[in-house]
Amino acid sequence: MKRWLRIQSEPIDEAKLSKERSISNGIGAVIYFLGVVRATEGTETISAIDYEAFEKMAHHQFAKIFDEAERRWPIESIRLVHRIGNVPVNEPSLWVEVAAPHRAEAFAACQFVIDEMKKVVPIWKRPVK
């Protein structure tokens, strides 16, 4: 399985990521998820979220999640970008793409990667008013 991971402070460039997509003839499903900063956190109105990562461990924990996704589903590739630092409202903080032969496994794997990330990858957020 091909895997590509970035934890970056630069904005997520969806157009560039789409352009760089490379899939084989056996792929029937490419799905991607975009996590976007909402203008509310609980009852508070916010202008941005400031993300912090323990990067060395985050890379390792993402690698373990990708290993497990590969074990469970016949995925050709996973690409993931998590933005850190100040991410304004309406801008994406997370971009995850899964390519697989069929949509069921692509959706399942994408959901799995995000769910596991939220449990174990050391990234934290602070709302900015």
Binding site: M57, A58, H60, L94, K118, V120, P122, I123, W124
Partner: protein, 81 residues
């Protein structure tokens, strides 16, 4: 022997530092070290049940036996995405 302890996210505010070096005795466990740190930094104590512990880049449990040069990390629940 010595281990390094790193605090992440708002644990830095609770302790007033991002890292400290701690002397630990042979055979001391991660859980014992964390208990001592809660005495040293009382603001960590209320976070006891939600504190996550890692050594290097792996999560560890209270019974993990510490080794010379271990880099311990303590932090609150993660919130990526």
């Amino acid at each position: 022997m010595k281990v390094r302890v790193c605090f992440h996210s708002y644990f830095r505010e609770l302790t007033g530092t991002d890292q400290i070096d701690e002397e630990v005795r042979d055979g001391e466990t991660l859980g014992e070290l964390v208990k001592r740190l809660q005495q040293k930094f009382p603001k960590l104590k209320p976070m006891e049940r939600s504190t996550l512990m890692a050594v290097g880049v792996e999560y560890q449990t209270h019974d993990y036996p510490l080794h010379e040069g271990d880099e311990v990390s303590l932090f609150p629940p993660v919130q990526g995405g």
